[in-house]
């Protein structure tokens, strides 16, 4: 995706994202000033809300978990040269998989239900990504448009299922019944209590460790396996990959399934880790944040970890901030996310030319 640059490697990897992030925060700060609040004070409140006390940290890491999954999902497709905007829909459908397993089988012990639910989330997410992937590879329809359409189709389908079919009998709100406790993924504070450590109650759960493992597995698969090599070759130069005899269509389809499965795991964190039932729009834009996470993290697991943490902190800190300063609502965070996507994803050349000039000057001396 990026163009060849004449900057040193560390500048492209570290300095540019930081500058882009800074520019995005600067514009957010301007908007905050415009509505009559103090941006510096808001930033302090936000950092304090995200990292200043144990509950805050717990919530930050809980949001981080989902963002790692959707960020990895977007990155997986990016490495094959595909822009998967469908993370939201794939996560939604994965929630259906989790819910069906739980509603049908949650009389079974946890060690049976939870792995099955994990598997179902990945299969359903992958299946919802498979169709756009197949249509892109075999019929040449543009993945971006198809995945957008699939988000809308998923939303219509899930609304119908929740309102008409899966709703708890006798209830008015479109949500399923509570899953049996055997299907709940253990909370971190419960695990810590078993070890005799006292942690505050937060929705942070064992899925967090799964996210960390996924980061490592992602690295190994994309950079250390034969499959990853073909994946990246197809992404960098499809023609060359075809000429080298790589099965391009197959790689595209598998990459999309891989992407969908990762997006699906975010549903596990939300449903089995926190709400323990499915409700309307539980995805809540997490799939879209994944785009920002992947772009900011330069599609690398380590970068994705850092940027998922950043977005987790933005979400949690933003919620805290909106309690302290009611003028700054959750939408302010959406604006900031949009700005970060703009500066990190589309305007990455903004600082490249001036920086390249600056480095040239320095090396001359």
């Amino acid at each position: 995706m990026s163009q060849p640059s004449n900057l040193p490697r560390w500048a492209t990897l570290w300095l540019m994202p930081v500058l882009n992030l800074f520019a995005a925060l600067l514009v957010s700060g301007l908007v905050i000033t415009l509505i009559g609040e103090d941006p510096v004070e808001c930033l302090q409140l936000m950092i304090n809300g995200a990292f200043g006390y144990p509950e805050g940290i717990g919530y930050t890491l809980f949001y981080t978990t989902s963002f790692i999954f959707t960020g990895l999902a977007v990155a997986a497709a990016f490495h094959a040269g595909l822009f998967n905007i469908g993370g939201e829909g794939q996560m939604y459908l994965a929630g259906l998989g989790v819910t069906l397993v739980c509603l049908g089988l949650d009389f079974l012990p946890g060690w049976v239900v939870i792995p099955l639910a994990l598997l179902a989330s990945m299969v359903f997410g992958a299946a919802w990504a498979f169709i756009p992937g197949y249509l892109q590879a075999k019929r040449g329809s543009h993945i971006v448009v198809t995945t957008i359409m699939f988000n809308f189709i998923a939303s219509a389908l899930m609304t119908w299922l929740l309102v008409d079919k899966l709703i708890m009998p006798g209830s008015q709100t479109p949500a399923t019944r509570l899953f049996a406790e055997s299907a709940w993924i253990p909370m971190l504070h419960e695990l810590a209590a078993n070890l005799g450590i006292e942690l505050p109650q937060t929705p942070l759960n064992a899925t967090f460790f799964l996210a960390l493992i996924s980061l490592v597995v992602f690295y190994l698969m994309v950079w250390r396996s034969r499959w990853g090599y073909t994946l990246r070759t197809v992404g960098l130069n499809e023609k060359a990959a075809r000429y080298a005899g790589m099965p391009v269509s197959k790689v595209i389809i598998v990459a999309m399934c891989f992407s969908g499965a990762l997006a699906g795991l975010a549903a596990v964190n939300e449903l089995l880790g926190s709400t323990h039932r499915m409700n309307l729009a539980f995805t809540n834009g997490i799939g879209f944040v994944g785009i920002a996470v992947a772009l900011m993290g330069r599609n690398h697991p380590f970068g994705i970890l850092l940027s998922a943490l950043l977005f987790g902190a933005l979400t949690q800190g933003g919620l805290d901030l909106s309690f302290e300063r009611p003028a700054i609502t959750h939408e302010m965070i959406i604006l900031t996310q949009g700005l970060i996507i703009l500066f990190c994803g589309a305007l990455e050349n903004l600082f490249q030319t001036p920086l390249a000039l600056a480095f040239k000057q320095m090396t001359k001396r």
Partner: protein, 315 residues
């Protein structure tokens, strides 16, 4: 028959903003710039139109403000995509998010009504135009379906005619299509590629501006958070459905609007043979049709050749 005309009436009302936005997308995409930002342009326009119409108590001022806001977002998309050769898809997604976040924040700060703007008085809205024999028109369903709309609906009809003339018959239209198909050849022929693309973006912004203003000034009477609710993407779907041609895109909009109008009618009622269809299935029809079309099962939708590729002048 009356129900036929009331569906026609509803179809025209729902189709108007879609048609305007789809034609906006047509300019942008025919010039070679992917336009996922239609949604954001419309939403920004709706917000600006609501604020200005409320303050000036004039729908025309609101319309002008909406168009200005649409053009501003479009030019931002232009600066990123044309000026900085950025990724157009990402720029579109980012702009939509930014507008969706910014508008309720500003609405809350300026009007303290929880992310929406105050409801407009009749004087600040576009009402159905008063023709002679107004009573006769109101009484007759067919006449009401055709003549009982506000001025923006008729403006949209005019826009369709003008756009198809501009795109196919005017000098600018030829340049527009040339720049979207083969910018390097156009450049060699002495056309200023970036200028044509910026112009196309501005037109796209202005048309989206009218579409967004319509939502507030002719429909809801206030700005509501995320009130475009995917209409920009629906317009994009209609554009693709119409294979990037004006009249076909308009037909797509009418078809999608018709499914929307009929869905409200069908709610709960059973059809012969099929039984009752859940709303959600009818809602999903436009999206499913677009996917099917893109997959090449209903003729081939061929995008402008240079779409999505930044133009870097060859030396």
């Amino acid at each position: 028959m009356d129900s036929f005309f009331s569906v026609l009436d509803a179809t025209i009302r729902v189709a108007t903003p879609l048609v305007l936005a789809a034609l906006a997308g047509l300019f942008s995409e025919r010039s070679g710039i992917v336009d996922l930002a239609l949604e954001g342009k419309m939403l920004a326009a709706a917000f600006a139109a609501a604020c200005v119409a409320y303050m000036m108590q004039s729908p025309w001022a609101g319309l002008a403000a909406g168009m200005a806001a649409g053009v501003m977002v479009a030019l931002l998309h232009g600066i990123v995509s044309i000026g900085y050769n950025g990724n157009q898809l990402i720029s579109g997604v980012a702009l939509n998010m930014m507008v969706s976040g910014l508008t309720p924040v500003l609405a809350l700060a300026w009007f303290q009504q929880g992310g929406r703007t105050p409801t407009l008085d009749d004087a600040a809205r576009f009402r159905s135009i008063e023709l002679p024999f107004a009573d006769a028109i109101a009484a007759s369903a067919p006449l009401k379906a055709l003549f009982g709309h506000n001025i923006l609906v008729y403006l949209a009809v005019l826009v369709i005619v003008v756009v198809s003339w501009v795109v196919y018959k005017s000098r600018f239209g030829l340049r527009l299509r040339a720049v979207g198909e083969n910018p390097h050849a156009a450049d060699a022929a002495g056309i200023n590629v970036k200028l044509v693309r910026y112009l196309a973006q501005s037109i796209s912004g202005a048309l989206c501006g009218v579409a967004g203003a319509y939502l507030v000034l002719a429909q809801t009477g206030a700005f509501i958070q995320d009130m475009t609710a995917g209409k920009g993407y629906l317009a994009l779907a209609a554009l693709i459905f119409g294979k990037w041609r004006p009249w076909a895109a308009v037909s797509g909009c009418l078809l999608f609007a018709f499914t929307d109008a009929i869905q409200i009618r069908l709610q709960g009622s059973a059809l012969p043979l099929i039984g009752s269809i859940p709303d959600a299935f009818i809602q999903a029809i436009p999206y499913v049709l677009t996917v099917v079309l893109l997959a090449g099962f209903m003729g081939k939708a061929v995008a402008p050749k240079a779409i999505g590729v930044p133009f870097v002048k060859s030396r």
